[in-house]
C-alpha cells in the first residue's frame, strides 16, 4: 500500500490491531442476573461491549479484559474468569 501523504489515514484500520490478545481475564455475563442497564456498554474503554436481542455481547477480538464492566455492573452479573488460550 502506498504511503498516505502527510501521515494520514482513513478510519477503520485500528481494527487491524486485535487487542483481545492482551487479555488475561475474560468477562462472562450471567444472563439471569443481567438487567440490561447498558452500564457495561457505556463504560467500556474499548467499545467492545454491545447488546443484541436482549443479550450482552463482548467483542473478544478487542476486549482487553480490564474488568471495568464487571466492577461497575449494578447487578453483579459479570464475572472475570481466567481465560484458557
Amino acid at each position: 500500500m502506498a504511503l498516505r501523504i502527510g501521515c494520514a489515514a482513513e478510519p477503520g484500520r485500528a481494527r487491524d490491531n486485535k487487542t483481545g490478545s492482551w487479555r488475561v481475564f475474560m468477562p462472562v455475563v450471567d444472563l439471569e442476573k443481567c438487567i440490561l442497564c447498558g452500564n457495561c456498554i457505556l463504560l467500556c474503554p474499548e467499545t467492545a461491549v454491545s447488546e443484541n436481542d436482549g443479550q450482552i455481547l463482548f467483542d473478544l477480538d478487542f476486549c482487553k479484559g480490564c474488568g471495568v464492566c464487571a466492577r461497575e455492573c449494578p447487578a453483579e452479573a459479570i464475572s472475570m474468569i481466567q481465560e484458557e488460550k
Binding site: 500500500m1 498516505r4 501521515c7 489515514a9 482513513e10 478510519p11 477503520g12 484500520r13 485500528a14 481494527r15 487491524d16 490491531n17 486485535k18 487487542t19 492482551w22 487479555r23 447498558g38 457505556l42 463504560l43 467500556c44 474503554p45 474499548e46 467499545t47 467492545a48 467483542d59 477480538d61 478487542f62 482487553k64 479484559g65 480490564c66 474488568g67 471495568v68 464487571a70 466492577r71 461497575e72 472475570m80
Partner: protein, 297 residues
C-alpha cells in the same frame, strides 16, 4: 441530542486496559456527534489512538504538535467559518499539553474567542512519557519527577486552577466533569459545542498506570475523587458558577489510600499532617463550590 449508541471511537486502540482517557474519547464523540473535527495534542491519547495507519477516530482528526492544538483549532475554525461550514471543533489534550506547554496558544485562542471547545483529559501528570508531574498534578502525588523520598512528600505544589484562568478570559462556558459520570460528560460536551465562542471542559480521567490502581477501578477511583471533594464537577456560565455536584463528603484518606501515587502518605506510617493538608484542600473546595449536602436537605 446526545446519542448514547453513537460509536465514533473505534476498537483496536492501544490504551492500557481500563483507560480513563480512552473511555473519555468515546464519551466526547457521543456528546458531540459526527459533525465534529478533533484537534489533538501530542500525548498519551494521541499515541494510543493513531499509530499510522491505524486510527481509532471515525471523525476528522488532526494532530500537529504538543503545544499548539488550540492554535491549530483556531485555524480550523477560521477556515470553516470562511466557508460557512458547520462542523464543531474540539481540542482533546492532556493536562501537560493544557496546563503547561500549551498555555500560550490556549490563552490566545480563548482571548480571540474562536468557536471551539477545548477539552482537557486530566490524568494529572505526563503519562505518555512516563508519569512526570504537570501543573495539574495534585499536592503530594508522587510522580517520576516529583518522587516521594526522604526529603520529599511528592509534588510540592497544589493543582493549578485552570478553569478559573480560562473563565478570566471571558469564556462563556467553563465546566469540569469526570469519566465516572458519563452522562454528565456527554451533556457537558453537547452544551459546550453548542455554546458559541471558546469553551473549556476539564475532565478527570483516572489513569490506572500513572496513579497506581487496578484498571477495573477507573470509574470507582473517579467517583471517590468526587465523593471526597478533591475533584468537583461544576459549571460556570458567563463567569458565574451555575452548578456544582453536591455530595455527602467522605474523608480524603480512602481516595488517597487506593492509589500508589499517595502510598508514601500511609507507609510506613500515616503522615497525618500531610493528609490533613490534603483534607484542607477538599474542605476549601467544598466551601468554594458549595458541594456539601447539609443534613437538613
Amino acid at each position: 441530542m446526545v446519542d448514547k449508541s453513537l460509536e465514533l471511537f473505534d476498537c483496536g486502540h492501544r490504551a492500557c486496559g481500563g483507560c480513563g482517557p480512552a473511555l473519555l474519547a468515546r464519551l466526547i464523540l457521543k456528546g458531540a456527534g459526527e459533525d465534529t473535527i478533533i484537534v489533538a495534542s501530542t500525548g498519551c491519547m494521541e499515541v494510543f489512538s493513531t499509530p499510522y495507519p491505524e486510527t481509532a477516530w471515525k471523525v476528522p482528526w488532526i494532530h500537529s504538535l504538543f503545544e499548539n492544538a488550540a492554535a491549530v483549532a483556531s485555524g480550523v475554525e477560521a477556515s470553516l467559518k470562511h466557508n460557512n461550514r458547520t462542523e464543531k471543533v474540539i481540542c482533546i489534550c492532556g493536562d501537560g499539553a493544557t496546563f503547561d506547554i500549551g498555555m500560550l496558544c490556549i490563552s490566545g485562542a480563548f482571548e480571540r474567542g474562536h468557536d471551539i471547545t477545548y477539552i482537557c483529559y486530566d490524568n494529572e501528570a505526563y503519562m505518555n512519557t512516563g508519569i512526570q508531574r504537570s501543573g495539574a498534578t495534585p499536592y503530594d502525588a508522587s510522580t517520576t519527577t516529583s518522587p516521594a523520598g526522604r526529603l520529599s512528600m511528592g509534588n510540592s505544589r497544589p493543582k493549578k486552577d485552570l478553569p478559573q484562568i480560562l473563565n478570566a478570559h471571558g469564556a462563556s462556558y467553563v465546566a469540569t466533569a469526570s469519566v465516572a459520570y458519563p452522562m454528565d460528560v456527554m451533556k457537558k460536551v453537547e452544551k459546550a459545542v453548542n455554546t458559541p465562542g471558546a469553551c473549556y471542559l476539564q475532565v478527570h480521567a483516572p489513569c490506572s498506570t500513572g496513579w497506581g490502581f487496578d484498571g477495573s477501578k477507573t470509574i470507582e477511583i473517579g467517583k471517590q475523587a468526587i465523593e471526597c471533594g478533591l475533584w468537583v464537577n461544576y459549571e460556570m456560565e458567563n463567569g458565574e458558577l451555575t452548578k456544582a455536584k453536591k455530595v455527602r463528603r467522605v474523608p480524603v484518606e480512602g481516595y488517597l489510600k487506593a492509589q500508589k501515587r499517595f502510598r508514601h502518605l500511609f507507609k510506613p506510617q500515616p503522615v497525618t499532617e500531610e493528609i490533613a493538608k490534603i483534607q484542607a484542600i477538599a474542605d476549601a473546595n467544598a466551601v468554594k463550590y458549595g458541594i456539601d449536602i447539609q443534613l437538613n436537605e
